[in-house]
Structures are given as C-alpha cells and as structure tokens.
C-alpha cells in the first residue's frame, strides 16, 4: 500500500501534460482548418477578381471587335498586354491573345490576373458577311407573334432584343448578336432612277395576263402592276440557256391579290424596283410571286414606301431589300427567301425559309456594302 501510494506521486502532472498534448493536437487541427478557410475565401476573392478582369478583357475586345478581328492574323499575338484595372490597394490585369484561326472564326484568349490568381476565358468570334444563311435582317426590330415561324437555317438578326421577348431564348440558343446599334447597308435606290432611265421597254399599267419577253441586260419600265383574280404576268428571258439579268422599274405600285401571279422564268435574275406601294394579298392556292428553276428576284423597295403587308404565298428565290420599310407578315403564307427591312412584325402562321439559292446574291451585297461607311459587319460569338 505504501509503495503503491508512492508510485501515485506525479500522476496528476502526467495527466496535465497528456491533456495539454491532446488539446495541442485539437488546436493544431483547428488552426489548420481555419487557415484552409482563410486561404479558400481569399482564393475565391482573388479568383473572382481575376475572372472579372478576364471578362473586362472580353468586353474591351467586343467594344472594337472589327479592329481587333481584322488587324491580327498571327496566332500567339498579344493584342492587349497587361491592361490594368485599379483597386484601392492593388490592381488586376488582363491580357488578350489571338489563340487560333479556323476559317472565319478567330479564337481569342483573355487572361485575368489578380494576386497570382489567374482566370482564362476563351472567346470565339466568327465574321459573317453578306447574306450567308440569314433569312431576315432588320435595322430595328423583329416581332414574331401567333404561330409565325422563322425556320432554322433562316436565322434572323435584330437590333432591339428587348422587343422580341418570344425570340430571346431562341436568340440565346443561337448565340448570335450584332455589335453595332445599326445594321445599315449603304445601298439606297436613287430617287430619280425611275424617270431618268432610258428604258429598253416600257408599259402602262398592267392589270391583265401578260408576258414580257426580255433580253439580258434589259431595263423595263412599267407604270403599275395590279393583278387580281387569275391574272398572270410572266417575265421571260431570251432562252439562250444561260443566266440573264433584267431590271424592272415599277413606278406606281405593285399589287397582287386573289390567285394572280407574277412569274419569272428559269435562269433569269430580276431586279425589281418598286415605288409607291407593294402589297401581296394572294388568298388562293397559287403563289403570288414565283421564281422558276434557278431564277431569282431581288425586290428593291423604295424608301418612300413605309409599310408593306405580305399575306400571299411567295415562292422561289426572293430577296426583299427594304431597309427603311416596316413589314407586316400575316396569314399562313410561306416566304422562301430573305427580307432586309427596318422592322418586321410577323403574326398568324407566316413562315420564312431561307433559300440556299439566295447565296448567289451574296457577292452583290458584299461588293455594294463593303465600301460603304454605313456597313456593319455581323458577328457570331
């Protein structure tokens, strides 16, 4: 008993040391966890700042996209180096590099840095020129209601996205935007061109079935076209088996209703210039405007025509060039073609399908618009 008691001496001290060791381990673990938390939140903040520096770089790129896109052709080139964004006691930086080129698509890398945290964002930009696959262009707005439809493959571009709620999701899905406020082709119809021309053929008002036989390069003046019932106006080429182009100037309005038709025979490209008014109200089964095999029609709408209503069927390769006109598309008609307009309001079941044959107009518009100051390139990103 005595010996045992003697051995108990100092036991409490040992317990104290053991307690200190255990507490030390616990405190060590806690310190470790705290340091991790601090590093993690600090890393989050640094990464956020690096991310938004990289985003700032992308937005800087977008703000002058045309210059950045056009001026650099060597992958690996640094376009913007270490541009700084100031904080009170520090700075973040971004650097933009042209990373790769694939056809019309250039891939840019924006690298944001803050406190040694880095964040890189890749940004693909595709330059779209001319018509490409776009079926609809508007300078102001596109409003689609009811069951109206713009088929995929005839993608539209519009300016004021907020006005087209129905299509916002679609737009996001396509990820297509324009970089400039306006989409203006520097391509207007000469106000005087209708009366100043010396025409190869001229006609008064056409309101009965009629056939015009034209030669390549002919300029034809028609005072007015007003077809109703089953009347049919046919434009024939000289049938030499080659592609021909003729210009038709309609001075006092173009109107088709009922089952009436305006038909362009094969291999013929028609530039149709229309003043005063343009109305299609074809209610029948036939097509109001028809372009037969490999023929194509560009309808240039004079700026004085403020509104156009299309309710009839329109077939063939038909392009409306009317950048200053508001289009109302109603009924259940189909348009195989494309529209360039100030704004488009589509209701009912109106459908627009882009026609690949319209691609042949691309070059025309490219040439005309590329030198114009009002030209805005389209970008997909």
């Amino acid at each position: 008993m005595y010996l045992f008691k003697e051995k108990e001496n100092g036991f409490a001290l040992i317990m104290v040391f053991l307690t200190i060791v255990v507490l030390g381990i616990l405190v060590g673990a806690f310190i470790n966890s705290t340091i991790f938390n601090i590093r993690f939140t600090s890393h989050q903040e640094n990464r956020s700042k690096a991310y938004y520096a990289a985003q700032a770089g992308i937005n800087h790129l977008k703000s002058d996209l045309s210059a950045f896109y056009n001026n650099y052709d060597q992958p690996g080139t640094k376009i913007i180096s270490n541009e700084t964004i100031d904080y009170n006691d520090n700075t973040s930086t971004y650097t933009i590099e042209l990373n790769s080129i694939n056809g019309n698509t250039k891939t840019f890398l924006s690298e944001g840095i803050f406190n040694q945290s880095e964040y890189s964002i890749s940004f693909d930009v595709t330059k779209l020129s001319g018509l490409d696959d776009f079926g609809v262009f508007t300078t102001k707005s596109l409003d689609v209601g009811g069951s109206a439809n713009i088929e995929s493959g005839s993608i539209y571009v519009e300016m004021t996205k907020e006005e087209v709620q129905e299509f916002e999701d679609y737009l996001d899905e396509l990820n297509i935007k324009t970089v400039d406020e306006g989409f203006v082709f520097n391509f207007t119809i000469d106000q005087n061109s209708f009366s100043a021309e010396t025409y190869d053929q001229s006609y008064n008002k056409i309101n009965n079935s009629f056939t015009i036989n034209a030669n390549d390069g002919d300029k034809i003046y028609i005072e007015e076209i007003d077809l109703s019932g089953n009347k049919k106006l046919i434009i024939n080429g000289s049938n030499n088996g080659k592609e021909e182009t003729i210009d038709i100037y309609v001075n006092d309005g173009f109107e088709i209703s009922g089952n009436a038709e305006f038909e362009v025979s094969q291999d013929l490209n028609v530039n149709l210039f229309v003043k005063n008014h343009f109305d299609l109200n074809g209610g029948g089964n036939s097509e109001s405007i028809k372009a037969i095999n490999n023929s194509a029609i560009i309808t240039y709408i004079h700026p004085e025509i403020e509104n156009i209503k299309l309710a009839g069927n329109i077939d063939g390769d038909l392009l409306f060039y009317a950048p200053e006109t508001i289009f109302e598309l109603t009924g259940s008609a189909d348009l195989n073609g494309a529209i360039i307009a100030e704004s488009i309001n589509a209701t009912g079941n109106f459908t627009i399908n882009y026609d690949d044959n319209l691609d042949k107009f691309k070059e025309i518009f490219k040439e005309e618009v590329s030198s114009g100051s009002g030209y805005s390139t389209l970008w997909r990103y």
Partner: protein, 133 residues
Amino acid sequence: MNNKSSGFSLVEVMAAIVILTIAFIPIIAYFTNSIGFVSQREDLAEANNIAVNTIEFLKKKSETDWDNLDSYTYDSGITVAVNYLDKNLNSVSNGAVDAEGNRIDVLAEITVTVNIDGGISYQLNSFVNKVGG
C-alpha cells in the same frame, strides 16, 4: 512518510491548474482572434457574392438600358460607380458622340463596393459593354 505525503496531491493539482491555465491563455486568445477572423472572411465571401451578383445585374441591364447604368438604388452598403469609356479606355460622358454623331461610350467600367461591418469594404471591378456581356 505517510504524513509527509499528505497534501501532496493538492499541491500537484494546484500546480496542474496553474500549468493548464498558462497553457490555455494563448489558446483562448487564438480562438478569440480566429473566430473574429473567420467571421470577417465569411463577410468578405458574402460581399464577393453580392458584388458578383451586382456586376451580373449590370451586364444584363447594359443590354437594354445602357444609358441608365448608373441610376439604380441598391441595398444599403452597396455602392456602384459607373465610368463610361470609349474604345481606347478613355473616360467619356454617357452619350458622348464623335464628329460624325456616332456614340463613343462603348464600355463602362463598373466598380462595386460592398461595405462590411467593422469599417471594412470589399471592391470588385469589371467592364461591361454596350451589347451586353
């Protein structure tokens, strides 16, 4: 011997208490500090989230309401400064135009400051541009 050892355990226990107390003082001090520090980091993380949300909000707003990026009332403690820039990052006024009448305010530098308790503030900066993004 028996008598001599009487009361020794009490001395040991007293010594142990003294040692433990001395050991606990820095530990308690550390805990007190770290609780305050972790709390501050949590506030900073929250401030970061608020700042991120605010910049995202302004990105969306820039698509539709570019001219009024700087006119919005935020919750107290959130301050947003908007600095309109031209494409060369020069500061310009909202609505500034060039000689041809074209708008040149194509970028906006956004500075979001979130005030945290204890006089600390958190700042997040970025650029947004006119077409959103």
